[in-house]
């Protein structure tokens, strides 16, 4: 079974059924005979870097079973590539948990995207249950912990947005990452060129590939926006936190990191700092060790009178 061992699966052996997603890069279909598994097909298969998708599949395969289960609980990770006559056409992934969907007024099922967490509820999506402040805090922590784990695995997220993170409050607050073929291993190319989502760009990122520091900026965006229930707040602007979402110690720490995230590219707080800030731990400032004084050098020892001879260049 290729979902278990990660080996490529031929497109001819799949039976794509209902189209449930249509994005810029491709489409997502359910599969007849494979409940709970989805097929993402690329619109432009020839632009796909097949080796990068192999890398991502291998990342999951290399995990011990418990860690793999954790990854599967929190992400729609590429399980195996789908190929057709040697060409990568897409990949298989697990469906998002049913707890991360909601039912619209017409009975259709929709994903509970991060966007529903970032603004006051409207009548059109009143079926999305809104979190209490303490649950909102737990959701922010869950996202930070997920991003921290991915960074620890040597992965770069690239795009983080209101549409590629799902959440739920039941049975407990949890998050789920979509579009995981957008991630890449540090030092390796992405599966496809990645575009940032508007309102989620790092304004100070140098042009080119996504970076760990860019991810850190986007983590700051996500944390600030979740805790403020504000889809557009950015580092550098005031955090108008949802009342009761943080205690005083956490609030102080979060505000400090959010300000630091407005710094130059390469200086943004890392995910571990966010974890500590949200955990409300006291931090102990450590004095940096003074560099040892350099010994005085007696130039006379090195710069004596030089006697140069001649080098004959003839035999």
């Amino acid at each position: 079974m290729t979902i278990d061992d990660g080996a490529d699966v031929p497109l001819g052996g799949l039976h794509p059924d209902r189209k449930i997603g249509d994005g810029g890069q491709g489409e997502v279909h359910t599969l007849t005979g494979l409940p709970g598994v989805l097929y993402k097909s690329y619109r432009e298969p020839r632009q796909v870097v097949g080796g990068a998708l192999t890398d991502l599949v291998a990342v999951r395969q290399a995990l011990a079973a418990p860690d793999r289960a954790v990854l599967d609980t929190a992400t729609a990770w590429p399980l195996c590539r789908v190929t057709d006559r040697g060409q990568v056409t897409g990949f298989l992934m697990y469906e998002a948990p049913a707890s991360m969907t909601w039912t619209a007024g017409d009975g259709s099922t929709r994903l509970t995207e991060l966007q529903y967490l970032l603004r006051p509820a409207k009548a059109a999506w009143k079926a999305v249950e809104q979190p209490a402040p303490t649950q909102r805090y737990v959701l922010a922590v869950a996202l930070v912990e997920l991003l921290d784990r991915l960074h620890a695995m040597g992965l770069i997220l690239g795009d983080l947005s209101q549409a590629n993170v799902l959440w739920t409050l039941r049975p407990a607050p949890a998050v789920f990452l979509l579009d995981c073929d957008g991630l890449r291993l540090a030092g390796r190319p992405p599966v496809l060129a990645q575009a940032d989502t508007p309102d989620w760009q790092d304004p100070k990122a140098p042009p080119g590939q996504a970076s760990v520091d860019g991810d850190r900026y986007k983590a700051a965006l996500a944390v600030g926006r979740i805790l403020c229930q504000d889809a557009y707040v950015r580092p550098g602007s005031h955090l108008d936190l949802v009342p009761g979402v943080l205690d005083d110690r956490r609030e102080h720490a979060v505000r400090r990191l959010h300000e630091e995230a407005d710094g130059a590219h390469g200086t943004r707080p890392h995910l571990g700092q966010w974890r500590i800030a949200l955990a409300g731990r006291e931090t102990i400032r450590l004095a940096a060790a003074e560099p040892a004084p350099r010994p005085q050098i007696d130039p006379a020892k090195f710069d004596g009178v030089r006697r140069r001879g001649n080098i004959s260049l003839r035999d």
Binding site: A124, W125, P198, A231, Y232
Partner: protein, 221 residues
């Protein structure tokens, strides 16, 4: 916030009676559902509905679709006064853009989806069209013709893209459902390229082809 206003300007003359208008009326809840349940799109777009026949009526003034739970239905009767449609549209755009700016928004050039099943029956419609397309807030117009609409007239009305339903294998009702779906896609895809602070501009996303319609080349007209 950066706002992109969309105007659906729809022919509700007598010849639109029955299936054509029923198709549009039944497609509007779908459009509303798609936009209103996607708050990122709803934040950045506004929608207005104008019906025209002998006169033109602003059936739904420009609104955030997530703020409404009903829309006035299109109802057939009368002739096809394009000029009334363009004059009413221009007045609405001028008022709406100023109102949005007064609320602190920045406003992108409005987008108009114009639909008619016949030729203009009024004098002076071309002057009204000229006033609209040369106005300070001149909109991008995507025009769709069905039934008896004239290809050259639809091509003249549009300044961005034009489509004619000429494939008789597709019923007008089916083509109009595609028209409404194309409008919905345009709103969603355009909005998804807009940043709230206006950084990077945006792409007006309009289908190159719409099932049931042929694309009218504006360059040749």
């Amino acid at each position: 916030m950066q706002i992109l206003p969309f105007y659906l300007v729809c022919d509700e003359s007598g010849s639109m009676n029955g299936d054509p208008l029923n198709s549009i009326n039944s497609a509007l809840p779908e459009l509303h559902k798609e936009i209103s349940t996607n708050p990122t799109v709803a934040d950045k777009t506004r929608f207005a509905l104008i019906g025209f026949s002998d006169t033109a009526t602003v059936l739904q003034p420009l609104v955030d679709l997530s703020d409404i739970d009903s829309l006035p239905a299109l109802a057939a009767g009368g002739l096809t006064a394009y000029g009334e449609a363009f004059r009413t549209l221009l007045r609405s755009i001028e008022t709406d853009v100023e109102a949005l700016k007064a609320q602190g928004h920045e406003v992108y050039r409005p987008v108009v989806f114009f639909l008619s099943d016949g030729g203009p029956t009024d004098e002076g419609w071309m002057d009204a069209h000229k006033d609209l397309t040369e106005a300070r807030y001149r909109p991008n117009i995507i025009a769709f013709g069905i039934g008896e609409a004239d290809r050259h007239t639809i091509g003249h009305v549009a300044n961005f893209r034009a489509f004619m339903q000429e494939d008789t294998s597709v019923s007008p009702a089916a083509a109009l459902r595609e028209f409404a779906a194309s409008l919905t896609r345009s709103i969603v895809r355009s909005a998804n390229s807009i940043a709230a602070d206006g950084g990077g501009g945006f792409n007006l996303a309009v289908d190159d082809t719409v099932p049931g319609f042929t694309t009218v080349s504006l360059d040749k007209l």
